[in-house]
Amino acid sequence: MRVLLVDDEVGFVSVLTERLVMRGMVAEYASSSKEAIQRIQDNSYDLVVLDVKMPGVSGLALKKELLNINPELKFIFLTGYCSDNVIDEISQDANGNIFLVKPVEINELIKVMNQVFPDERKAT
């Protein structure tokens, strides 16, 4: 499973990527929407982990652009905001988008990733 993480906080996204790599995933990161588009065009990914709020563009808008390039992509959103429910740190909106609230437990993230890809391409 190839994962692209997109977040403008480099300090956050680089470390998270490194930790996922350590767990045997193929993970890369982009720190801007431009870079993310570039990477999606150049490489093939299965899953994109997107920050909901980035300078200049929202995560949901970026999702649309990326889907235009590769309709096969799956998405998980990370957010500093709570979305719907107070207690659960994971939630889903009406369109089936999955949201996780920062700061997120890495094991939680991996669990959600595995739920999105319940097939043979599982990570560790």
Binding site: G11, F12, M22, R23, K53, G80, V86, E89, K102, P103
Partner: protein, 595 residues
């Protein structure tokens, strides 16, 4: 019951009565505001009152004067008419007799009159024709000697030369005397006429005339009440009997009025000070003055009755007008006051909603901004942990691993706080009705105040049955309601207090939440007013007096009810009744109020 308790009870009854009718604007918490409503009230009463009452009083006063004048001129006129009619009768009586004598003296020459028999026949004829008036007749020559006399006395040869009346009749040709008693003690007067002879001498025919016809006439006058009619002469000697003003032939107690050749009416007081109305007439060519006297009080009796009616009418009208104005002014000012209060409350409610929205937005953005660095800390600590785990170098270093766990735990804690803040802010914006676990919601509110209560040593206890129903309501509003009440409770308690929250189901599709503290309590006179906007006991300490009024509004918006009971120095208990279902209408209202 001893007198002291009785007095106290009466006092408190009076105070209660007054509190019940006292207009609400009169107890406005701010003295300046109260003053402005009071002066508005006073101005309204003064303006409307004077416009209504001054013309009424003026017109009544004018009517009073006019009626008084009309009545008094009416009885003066009537008195004058009676005097004038009576005067005519008496004048006619005297004239008739004088004319009879004049006719006789001219019709009979001297020798005929000097014949005693003839004179007696004339007297008999006079008595026959004029009734009992004539008593006797006499003929007197120019020297004053009575030459012939006929009548009950023997007066022949009496000499009158020096008598006043003889001189007067010689001078004027006719004379009417005062009333005299005479020898027989029969009241009478003397009428004498003169006949001039061509040789320059003259003779006089003299008659005594009884006054019974006078008396009869006067006593038969319809005077009513204490009226009195009599005749006096120019020396105030009563010529006929009077009922009240002196003895017959004695001096009258009333003075002689000033001369006038017309009928006059005058008002004067008796020596005792009793006001009288006197009509009088000087009878022409006689010494007589006809007097008709009435007591003014009797004449005015009708006026007094009218006057009492007038005054009563005025008093009743003024009372009615004043009370209507009083009620209207109180009603209007109360309405204005209430409208002002509602407007102010609405403004402040809106301000409060704005403030809460701002707080919500700000806390959301702060939480978000903190979440990002928290996430970085979390990942970096996680990475270090990963490095330890995967590279085995420090895997066995318990101290380092402990430190990293500590960091992770702290991040989780900070994350929980920001998540709560975010949730709180978000709930403020949510207007949809949702299923809510009340106990969980209250616990969440309490978690905001957890640190404060810990520092101050306040015990918080939540009691709720296990199988509590959920309510369908507005999360944000419930949150604010409980936050406000619990905040107040915390402020009312000293350190080491005890706050108890009890949730229990009610029969009528509602849950009720009791929030009781053991703080200083609310005095009874304040208790009725705690939900009024701007009512605050801590205005000097930065309170706006809006907290509980807004809480009250919020409770109404979710279709609930709020009650308060308090014991001074023992504590206060707020009870909020939350309906399990909110009606559609209220939901709409809320959407507008919050939007």
């Amino acid at each position: 019951m001893d007198p002291a308790t009785l007095t106290n009870r009466i006092k408190s009854t009076i105070v209660n009565r007054w509190l019940r009718i006292k207009p609400i604007f009169a107890s406005h918490p701010s003295p300046e505001e109260q003053l402005s409503y009071r002066s508005m009230w006073k101005t309204a009463i003064l303006a409307v009152g004077s416009v209504a009452i001054i013309p009424l009083i003026t017109i009544t006063m004018v009517d009073y004067q006019v009626t008084q004048k009309a009545i008094s001129s009416e009885f003066l006129l009537r008195a004058a008419r009676v005097v004038s009619n009576t005067q005519r009768s008496i004048g006619f009586f005297l004239d008739e007799r004088r004319s009879a004598l004049s006719f006789l003296i001219r019709d009979n020459d001297m020798p005929a009159l000097l014949n005693e028999k003839r004179l007696a026949a004339i007297l008999a004829n006079l008595q026959h024709s004029f009734g009992g008036g004539f008593i006797d007749l006499g003929v007197i020559d120019h020297l004053g000697r009575q030459l012939v006399y006929t009548g009950p006395f023997d007066l022949t040869d009496k000499v009158y030369t020096e008598q006043k009346w003889f001189k007067q009749v010689a001078e004027r040709g006719v004379f009417i005397s005062d009333v005299l008693l005479g020898y027989r003690l029969v009241p009478h007067m003397v009428i004498a006429v003169k006949n001039q002879l061509p040789d320059g001498t003259y003779y006089i025919l003299r008659a005594s005339v009884g006054i019974e016809p006078f008396q009869h006439l006067l006593s038969n006058l319809e005077l009513g009440g204490h009226g009195d009619a009599f005749i006096i002469n120019h020396n105030a000697i009563l010529q006929t009997p009077s009922r009240y003003y002196g003895k017959f032939l004695g001096k009258s107690s009333l003075p002689v009025p000033s001369y006038s050749d017309h009928t006059e009416v005058l008002e004067m007081n008796t020596p005792q000070g009793e006001p009288l109305v006197i009509g009088y007439r000087f009878l022409k060519d006689t010494p007589f003055i006809l007097m008709i006297v009435k007591k003014k009080a009797e004449l005015m009796a009708r006026w007094y009755k009218t006057r009492i009616e007038l005054i009563l009418f005025l008093a009743v009208s003024v009372t009615i007008i004043l009370s209507v104005i009083l009620c209207m002014a109180t009603y209007m000012v109360t309405r204005i006051f209430e409208a002002d209060q509602r407007r102010l409350a609405a403004i402040h409610h809106a301000e409060y909603a704005n403030k809460m929205a701002s707080i919500g937005r700000m806390s959301a953005s702060v939480a978000h901004e903190i979440n990002n660095p928290l996430a970085i800390i979390n990942e970096k600590a996680g990475l270090i942990q990963d490095l330890f785990t995967f590279q085995k170098t420090y895997a066995e270093d318990a101290k380092l691993n402990q430190l990293l766990d500590g960091i992770a735990a702290s991040v989780r804690r900070a994350g929980n706080i920001t998540k709560r803040l975010l949730a709180f802010a978000r709930n403020l914006e949510v207007v949809e009705v949702e299923d809510i676990d009340l106990v969980a919601l209250i616990s969440e509110v309490l978690s905001f105040l957890g640190k404060e209560s810990e520092h101050r040593g306040i015990q918080i206890q939540v009691n709720a049955p296990e199988d509590l129903l959920q309510v369908q309501s507005h999360r944000g509003k419930l949150q604010q309601i409980f936050l406000n009440i619990i905040n107040n409770a915390m402020a009312a308690m000293d350190d080491g207090g005890r706050l108890e929250v009890t949730v229990h189901p009610e029969v009528k599709k509602a849950l009720s939440v009791d929030i009781s503290d053991n703080g200083r309590g609310i005095p009874e006179e304040d208790l009725r007013r705690v939900f009024e906007p701007f009512f605050s006991t801590k205005t000097k300490r930065g309170g706006t007096g809006l907290g509980l009024s807004i809480t009250y509004n919020l409770v109404q918006e979710i279709g609930g009810q709020i009650f308060v009971e308090s014991d001074l120095n023992k504590g206060t208990r707020f009870t909020v009744r939350v309906p399990t279902r909110i009606s559609m209408q209220e939901g709409d209202q809320n959407a507008r109020a919050t939007g």
